[in-house]
Amino acid sequence: MNRKTLAYLVFLILLAFVPVLGIYPIFVMKIMCYALFACAFNLLLGYTGLLSFGHAAFLGTSAYTLGHAIKVWGFSPEIAMVIAVLASGLLGLAIGALAIKRSGIYFAMITLAMSQMVFFFFLQAKFTGGEDGLQGVPRGLLFGLVDLKNDINLYYLVLFIFAAAYFLIWRVVHSPFGQVLKALRENEARTISLGYDVDRFKLLAFVLSAMLAGLAGATKTLVFVSATLSDATWQMSGLVVLMTLVGGMGTLVGPVIGAFIIVLLENKVGDFGAALYDWTGVEWFSHLGESVTIVIGLIFVVCVLAFRKGIVGELNAWFERKQMERT
């Protein structure tokens, strides 16, 4: 336990030094946004056992809301941030209320369908600019003082948001509420028989997850000064499932690692391909860059078939086995 907190601190300090170390801050910020998104999703899948296949809806909603709030309504970033998160929270409430009427696969299908509906809304709505998206969102001054146009300032804001949200999720998981969620995931019938109105717990978890996903979306918009449809597509919903799966669902760090890997893959798969091509000489690899979806699909299949615990999960299992051997 104590070692864990220490590890977290070290990691945090490392992140704090990123700009100094000359690592490319925008890239790290992007990873943090997706990591937050994945963590939010994992709160639902990993700790409540609900597979939402429509989380992109929340990412998109807050992304657009923030953009609109700053660009059109002229709010300052922090206020816009709050508005955006609330927006996705409300959407979460609506979709959640519908979806939790069914469980398991149906839940997944319903969330998927609802998010598709949201997608079409964004596509047709005037303020989103359709396929052009919402462009050139000014980052503005945080609390009227800190100029976010400066990547470094923005970086520390994002880092703070990420750390805070991560802490919140940790807190939720280790709270009385989190206890009930755990129980609910392990044995729903028993939890009901102990007098818990599980639907209300599921809904709250859903809304929390939606708001955190929203936070990720809003932050992302600040970083890339634009909100586009791709944030709201079902492919994006699938991507976040994958991030969580790869990293290890039901673990706190898992989604972060998963996000890191997938984002890296998305940006660099071409380079990987080239490298593989040089190394193996297999012609196909050189086109890898043009077939990200195939790679993602493959990872999906492999994870589901052979690697369900995900990286962190497998590591934990491995350590436990080591423990066993020692004792």
Partner: protein, 257 residues
């Protein structure tokens, strides 16, 4: 009427036309240990599922303390003080034994929606939890992960968790099923002990258990009530012997003569 805690009228459940529970009129006296027996597939578990609203009855009414609870949702039933255990052990395997019981204790505290609080605020419940665990002699296992407990212990833990809700009426589905002798005896004693000041309705196959602790017995067969009464009368009822114990003294002789 005051001493009847649970009463059902014409309780019926059909699955796609197949009648699992058929026009059952059950009345459980306050403070009794009431046993529900019957062959496999007689409808005992289904009855439990109806009483706790895990299944919606096709027909019939359920009264608890004179109140009609037929329309309640499962969670409401539980909050009224009707808590059940399951035929196939129902614990939370990845939680520690202590946490299992705490889930039970936690609900009335109203902390359950506080996602911003540390779970340490639940430590106040530990003392009570340990008491309950001691009651079922699980004290020394408090901090082990439940999944690794032997089966018998799990059933005991289940009872402890049920007790944590301080139920007025406990429904136990085959608490001794799949246990070795010594476990059976321990659990039997346990039920006897915890039944003080409560009412217990239990499904049980093991006659020795029933004969030891049941005040009242209802025999189900093919979904309908076959007989009711205390152990002595029920076990002497020829109908019951026919359907359940299989045969009666007299006929045993007849058979080989």
């Amino acid at each position: 009427m005051g001493d009847i805690i649970l009463q059902t009228q014409g309780l019926t459940k059909e699955f796609r036309g197949f009648v699992a529970v058929n026009d059952v009129a059950l009345s459980v006296k306050r403070g009794h240990i009431h046993a529900l027996i019957g062959p496999n597939g007689a409808g005992k578990t289904t009855c439990f599922n109806l009483l706790t609203k895990f299944l919606a009855p096709t027909r019939g009414k359920i009264h608890f303390n004179g109140v009609d609870i037929t329309g309640d949702r499962p969670a409401q039933i539980a909050r009224r003080g009707i808590i059940r255990s399951f035929q196939i052990s129902a614990v939370f395997p990845h939680l520690t034994v202590l946490e299992n019981v705490r889930i039970g204790l936690q609900r009335p505290t109203g902390l359950s929606f506080h996602f911003w609080r540390s779970e340490r605020c639940l430590d106040q419940l530990n003392e009570r939890a340990r008491q309950l665990l001691d009651q079922v002699d699980l004290g020394e296992f408090a901090d082990t992960i439940t999944g690794s407990l032997p089966y018998g212990r799990k059933r005991a833990l289940e009872i402890a968790t049920t007790l944590a809700m301080d139920p007025e009426l406990m429904l136990l589905d085959e608490p001794t099923q799949g246990m070795g002798h010594e476990d059976v005896d321990r659990v039997t004693q346990l039920i006897k002990r915890v039944s003080e000041g409560r009412t217990v309705l239990m499904v049980e196959h093991n006659m020795s258990v029933i004969s030891k602790i049941a005040d009242e017995i209802t025999v189900l067969a093919r979904g309908s009530v076959l007989a009711e009464g205390d152990y002595a009368s029920v076990s002497r009822n020829p109908l019951v012997m026919e359907a359940y114990m299989g045969t009666t003294q007299g006929e045993l002789e007849g058979a080989h003569a």
